[in-house]
Point group: C2
Chain length 346, copies 2
């Protein structure tokens, strides 16, 4: 049967101050009207019943996850974050104990998808392929620009339709390299979305991460979870499995996609005023351009004569930075976290 | 007897969002711990008893003025602002009816004075001179920099000590001219502070503004006030009287003085952190320089990598602008005032 694993363990520090530890990006309506995790569930709905959706999150977020998704099948709470490899191994182990023939779509909870119908077609085809063949499928987005903030996957031999053998995974390229990648037509954006059968991914862990898998298979209750999980290696499933395996297949995703990685990225999705400011909530601008401006009900944010700024106001915290420093917002979070009197703002 | 008139009718738009219509700059602790009007009263206290202090303000501020100065002698509330000439004529008329031999210090409620002892010495000497001689004294500050935001007064023949005949009043100069002024030693900053006897200033109005004075002398009650005041000319006492009179004397003020005209100016008075940010309230900076940053209790303002910005957070409004645009803050206020749904933030 088809299952879905929604990876929702991120801390969302780059979206401070909207995103907080107990309520990070994926649990916020950063883009769109529902929260990102609610939109993720809604997208997968026709492919997988909610009873077979598994959210993997962490202990501080689990309460809010259950509140936002009251009828979700299961919520697995990691006691500490260990990147995606342990998360995937745990979810696959947990599912295979309930359904030995499970086929799983594994997706992040915090991506933006611009064409849900196309997205569903890709995932559906991948689920069908994974049910038939022992392949590890990763969805690679046909790049829409030479983005230097994403990893890329080079495709190899074509299989059929949208499916190719994976040739190699590459890190974030520089601009010139990214332009070559896009021009060649042989590269896809690595979106961190996977489809495989429980058997195939567990076999891959057995081969490439036998110790990690053995440890995870010893998890039986909350106590063993809290003992075992912190000792697992902090490693992504890309590094741990996909770059090592020889049965990796790329499914070309022909839909608009964005990982909405920081405040500068939301400017691509929010409504723009006539001077190019991306605006949410009660905002007034006088001669301001190209800003990302957010306020809360009952509060006005006024931007006068500034350009290229991010101003995000929430009830108890306001951030001001340049758009190009959006990735550095976590430095603010770290600074606050290191101050006993200010840690309450994290 | 000595009297003091404290002019407190300003709307303080350049200090939005801290300053609001009913609670403008002079009623705020923009610089220092007490509000600017409270500090003004405290400075004058040894020279004039509170019972002979008269605050001239406007109807929307009168309640807050009385709250901040519960034991002040009198509060005159202008139904509409008409600049300083009508204000001075009204206060002088009102005082002379109670004390025909009154001598008055007339000061703005919203200046910063850096040396209170020297300030008092200057005002005391001026009150003594004004009691003896029929002169109109304006306190001219010995300039501490070639400031282009102030008007200047050229001094003429020396009288005695700090007192000179006034030669002429000049508008805000350009940089080169301001530098000449400072180098010459013959110029003073026009601080809008005056000392004269009620008889002398009323005689000057009789001569230079006879219609205005006649109208003001017909004010007898609230009803006549509301009828007469709006018809008065909107004009400063500098234009209406001082530039025309031949008995003007400049008292050199040898104390640090600042009209604290906008948010950029407060940077000169607030504590600085080690990267030159002027900071008030709960603020965190990461790589921010030369900013003016203000928050409120229970709220943190975070500035990341920005420089030369003003960020002022209040309960229901946040302003972001460059320091050099501080004078334009009133444009934001006007924009808000013109929007039916946003006028509540003014």
């Amino acid at each position: 049967m088809n299952w879905a694993v929604i990876m929702a363990g991120g801390s969302g520090e780059r979206f401070w101050p909207l995103s907080r530890r107990a309520q990070p990006k994926q649990l916020q309506a950063i883009v769109g009207r529902s929260t990102m995790i609610q939109e993720t569930v809604a997208r997968l709905r026709p492919l997988v019943p909610k009873s077979r959706m598994v959210v993997v999150t962490n202990t501080v977020q689990v309460r809010e996850v259950r509140r936002q998704l009251p009828d979700i099948g299961s919520v697995l709470a990691e006691p500490v974050g260990r990147n995606t490899a342990p998360c995937v191994a745990w979810a696959a182990t947990w599912i295979s104990r309930r359904d030995a023939n499970a086929v799983m779509a594994v997706v992040p909870a915090d991506s933006w998808i611009g064409d849900v119908a196309r997205y569903r077609r890709v995932v559906r085809e991948a689920l069908q392929l994974a049910a038939r063949e022992p392949v590890l499928i990763t969805v690679g987005i046909a790049p829409q620009s030479p983005h230097t903030g994403y990893g890329y996957i080079e495709v190899g031999a074509p299989l059929r339709g949208r499916f190719y053998r994976a040739a190699r995974f590459v890190e974030k390229p520089d601009r010139a390299t990214a332009e070559e990648y896009v021009a060649s037509g042989r590269y896809r954006w690595n979106a961190g979305m996977f489809v495989w059968s429980a058997k195939t991914i567990l076999a891959a862990f057995e081969r490439h991460q036998p110790q990690m898998l053995a440890a995870i298979q010893r998890i039986r209750d909350g106590r063993s979870l809290r003992r075992i999980y912190p000792k697992l290696e902090k490693i992504s499933v890309d590094y741990a499995i996909m770059e090592k395996a020889d049965n990796v297949v790329v499914a070309t995703g022909d839909f608009p996609w964005d990982d909405v990685g920081d405040w500068a990225a939301v400017a691509r999705h929010w409504p723009r005023d006539d001077t190019g400011n991306a605006v949410r909530g009660e905002v007034v601008t006088v001669g301001a351009q190209d800003c990302v401006l957010m306020s809360q009900p009952g509060h006005v944010v006024a931007a006068l004569g500034v350009s290229g700024l991010v101003v995000v106001h929430t009830k108890d915290a306001t951030l001001v930075c340049r758009k190009e420093d959006s990735q550095r917002v976590r430095e603010v979070v770290q600074r606050l976290a290191s101050d006993r009197r200010k840690i309450r703002y994290v």
